[in-house]
């Protein structure tokens, strides 16, 4: 086995020798021995600790390239400092430093390139380096939350504390949190940014109780400068975790440290959450992330296509933006599917092809489309008539016209047939629906107000 390692190391040093001067090679690489190599790690023995420091700081990328060339895939590099007789003369041996060594070599892999500081730090923090403020598309749906997040990232604990961001699935909560965390970590050197999900908080808390390491757990999270907790709604029903979080929150808040939380619903709607936590969450700023409107969806698709470096026809963007309305993740996923279909199969993208390709996504979306009842409710609300009036036989114009508008919208926005719509409006005849539809259409052309109202209602229903 040893000869095998020696051979591997020889190949690696052959690659390195080409890249550095003879003096450098002699000085730094000649004395290294390969101790162990497996699927994920490679362990090098070095004569003393300056080797680890100097190589990690200056020659890591080179070493990694050489390893990848010889072994076919990258490895994490670990250093052990030898106690061998060659280096006895001046230096004390490093037997006293094993814990420090282990900590350093664990960190050595993540600290490979000094230039990639942010990416490495981000990944180590548990935050996705691709989620930054630059890659976040701002629209009317998230402008407020975005502005608040930016303010918090620029001056933590001085603007909005705590910041509570909520919104449905796939609308950008985690993206925004990662963006804040990474911005603070990169601009304010030395500040402790901690990002975790509330589930992780709970798990670690339970672990700490079981292993009697509560003090360490507390110190860890109460020393943060910025604490970001994702999906705080998972604390619901967990009394002890809530209590622990309550104390953590207080300590950080009193120490003027920034707290940022995200959830799928506003604080008041989280069930089984202690009142004192709810009031604390509402103490600062609560911002909602709403589903994007069509322009924002187009912008998101364009930006994503740019990032993926794919060129697609505008009609495809329009198709996707129109059909997928609720969830940005779904939207991006659909784009990926379409883009890879085009590049992998080489076939042309026609509306039929795409329809077929995305049929499961579109079905999911269809379930969320407008129902006749929703239309009736919205129209009734807008015209200030009762919902019952929609289905009643009353004929006065102030009731009949809204009913006709509702029928028009039902025809336009749903796939229901005339008969079905008629049924929904109190057993009316299909002809009535058709008449109502035609009437509203004509009115829209002559009366500006009617046109505006209908457009507004369409917008409201389509959001």
């Amino acid at each position: 086995m040893e000869e095998n390692f020696a051979l591997i190391w020889k190949h690696v040093t052959d690659v390195i020798r080409l890249e550095v001067s003879a003096d450098t090679f002699q000085r730094w690489f000649k004395a290294i021995q390969l101790l162990a190599a497996d699927e994920s790690h490679i362990t090098l023995r070095v004569p003393n600790n300056i080797y680890q420091l100097w190589i990690e700081t200056n020659y890591m990328p080179l070493l990694q390239t050489a390893i990848e060339k010889v072994l076919g895939s990258p490895r994490k590099v670990r250093f052990t400092i030898s106690d061998s007789p060659e280096k006895l003369e001046l230096e004390t041996d490093d037997a006293a430093n094993p814990p420090a060594k282990a900590a350093r070599s664990g960190g050595s892999a993540a600290k490979q390139s000094a230039t990639n500081g942010q990416a490495a730090a981000g990944a180590a923090n548990g935050m996705n380096p691709r989620n930054t403020f630059d890659s976040f598309v701002v629209g009317m749906n998230n402008q407020f939350a975005h502005a608040a997040a930016l303010a918090v990232a620029q001056t933590p604990a001085k603007t909005y504390n705590p910041l509570f961001v909520y919104g449905g699935v796939g609308l950008g909560k985690t993206h925004l949190m990662h963006a804040i965390g990474q911005q603070v970590a990169s601009t304010k050197a030395g500040s402790k940014v901690m990002y975790l999900s509330s589930e992780k908080f709970t798990n670690e808390f339970i672990d700490a109780i079981q292993n009697s390491k509560l003090v360490r757990f507390r110190n860890r999270y109460r020393q943060a400068d910025v604490l970001l907790i994702d999906d705080i709604q998972f604390l619901a029903g967990k009394e002890r975790s809530q209590e622990e979080f309550f104390h953590t929150f207080n300590t950080l808040f009193d120490g003027h440290k920034q707290i940022i939380l995200s959830s799928d619903r506003p604080p008041s709607e989280i069930q089984n959450l202690e009142g004192r936590l709810v009031s604390r969450f509402e103490w600062g700023l609560t911002a909602e992330l709403q589903p994007p409107d069509i322009e924002t969806r187009m912008a998101i698709l364009r930006k994503k296509a740019q990032l993926l470096q794919v060129k697609l026809d505008n009609s495809i963007f329009e198709f996707l933006a129109q059909r997928i309305k609720t969830n940005v993740r779904r939207l991006e996923g659909a784009l990926m599917r379409v883009a890879s279909f085009a590049s992998l199969s080489g076939r042309e993208l026609t509306p039929d092809n795409i329809e077929h390709l995305l049929k499961d996504i579109l079905q999911e979306e269809a379930r969320r489309t407008v129902t006749i009842e929703q239309i009736q409710r919205k129209v009734a609300e807008h015209y200030d008539v009762r919902l019952a009036d929609m289905t009643s036989k009353r004929r006065p114009a102030n009731i009949a016209f809204p009913r006709q508008v509702a029928m028009y919208l039902a025809r336009e926005l749903t796939k229901a047939s005339l008969s079905e719509i008629g049924e929904a409006f109190g057993g009316r005849d299909h002809g009535t629906v058709l008449h109502g539809h035609r009437l509203v259409k004509e009115r829209m052309q002559t009366d500006e107000k009617v046109r505006q109202t209908v457009a507004f209602l369409v917008n409201q229903l389509n959001r």
């Binding site: 003096d23 000085r27 003393n48 600790n49 420091l53 230096e91 430093n97 600290k111 000094a114």
Partner: protein, 364 residues
């Protein structure tokens, strides 16, 4: 406790010890200054548990005693007091009454027993240096201290007492600064200690160009006594890396440069160095050095220096800040830049025992 003192002296005493007080304190008493009045002397002590500093001034002591008062607050009050004579009286509850002319201030303090004492030194090794020498040596090395907290061993300067000299070394992995001071050293006093950068900063503030400074090195503490002020600091535990390994053994080309001109040229050119690949290129050709930098989509900068150079054509790139740092902190007219090739570290040397190893950057 009761004493009277002049405003200037009080201000001076407080300012000497102010810096050690950290803004983020774990214990409230650490943001206070310990005042001890006895024998015609008023002593101030501050600490942040790693570094502590004690200084004294003359004062008219009416009643001896001790207390601790909020350091920042006290300083800002004393600074604004109108008259030049200040009388301070502290009662048994540690409430201080400060009178000066028509002004009266009352501030609450904490009892002196709670203040953490400065470390005692038993069996300490003592060394005496000229302030000028130490000040000079620290100036030449302190900029190279690492700020990366994960490598705590490097967050300070190595003081190596050996072979009748004191060697100071500071490095952050990408450059290393080293200075020697001649010193009488009995064998028994030889040791290696790492002094943290906060203490170094404080010592630099206290040093003047006249007189001596006394160092005492204990188990894991160091004390600096200079001009009536005592600075005590914890040492950094751990083994400093074998820095000698870093210093290149040979030199291929030695280029003599005029320090100020070279520094200014690098500084000007570095204005156009991009933020991503922060580097300036040094291109050596016969009797000419061209310093160049560029940022894509912004522009480029170049400057030529006439030098005495007969070696082969060579181009090597360095981080401009790292290159300028030693030049800024040296006082000589001429420096020597010793190079091997574009992939090996360069060394800046001068006539006296100083060297600065700097790693080159990749030229893409």
């Amino acid at each position: 406790m009761k004493f009277s003192v002049s405003k200037e002296k009080l201000l001076e005493g407080l300012q000497t010890v102010q810096n050690v007080v950290s803004t983020r304190t774990t214990l409230p008493i650490l943001s206070n200054v310990l005042l001890h009045a006895a024998d015609g002397q008023l002593r101030f002590t501050t600490s942040d548990l790693d570094v502590g500093i004690r200084s004294g001034i003359e004062a008219a002591i009416d009643k001896p005693g001790a207390t601790t008062l909020p350091a920042r607050r006290l300083l800002s009050i004393v600074r604004e007091l109108p008259a030049s004579e200040i009388t301070v009286e502290v009662d048994s509850k540690n409430v201080a009454s400060i009178r000066s002319g028509p002004s009266f201030f009352k501030i609450l303090g904490l009892p002196e027993e709670e203040f953490p004492p400065l470390a005692k030194f038993e069996n300490a090794k003592t060394f005496t240096l000229r302030q000028k020498d130490l000040r000079d040596a620290l100036k030449k090395t302190s900029y190279a201290i690492s700020t990366d907290e994960t490598r705590y061993v490097l967050n300070g300067i190595l003081f190596s007492f050996k072979d009748n000299k004191l060697t100071l070394v500071a490095t952050d992995g990408r450059r290393l600064a080293l200075v020697d001071i001649e010193l009488e050293l009995p064998r028994s006093n030889e040791c290696d200690v790492i002094i943290p950068s906060k203490a170094i900063g404080e010592v630099q503030r206290l040093l003047t160009d006249e007189g001596d400074i006394k160092l005492s090195i204990g188990e894991n503490q160091v004390a600096f006594e200079v001009g009536g002020t005592l600075l005590v600091s914890k040492l950094i535990e751990g083994n400093y890396p074998n820095y000698r390994q870093v210093i290149p053994g040979e030199t291929k080309e030695r280029i003599t440069l005029e320090r100020v001109i070279f520094h200014d040229a690098v500084h000007r050119v570095s204005l156009l160095a991009s933020e991503k690949s922060n580097s300036v290129k040094l291109i050596f050709t016969k009797n000419n050095l061209e310093i160049a930098a560029n940022t894509p989509d912004v522009g480029e900068a170049r400057e030529s220096l006439a030098i005495a150079y007969k070696g082969r054509d060579m181009a090597i790139a360095f981080n401009p800040e790292f290159l300028m740092a030693p030049l800024k902190n040296l006082a000589v007219d001429e420096v020597f830049l010793d190079l091997i090739d574009e992939m090996s570290p360069g060394v800046v040397r001068i006539q006296s025992p100083f060297l600065y190893v700097i790693m080159p950057m990749r030229i893409s």
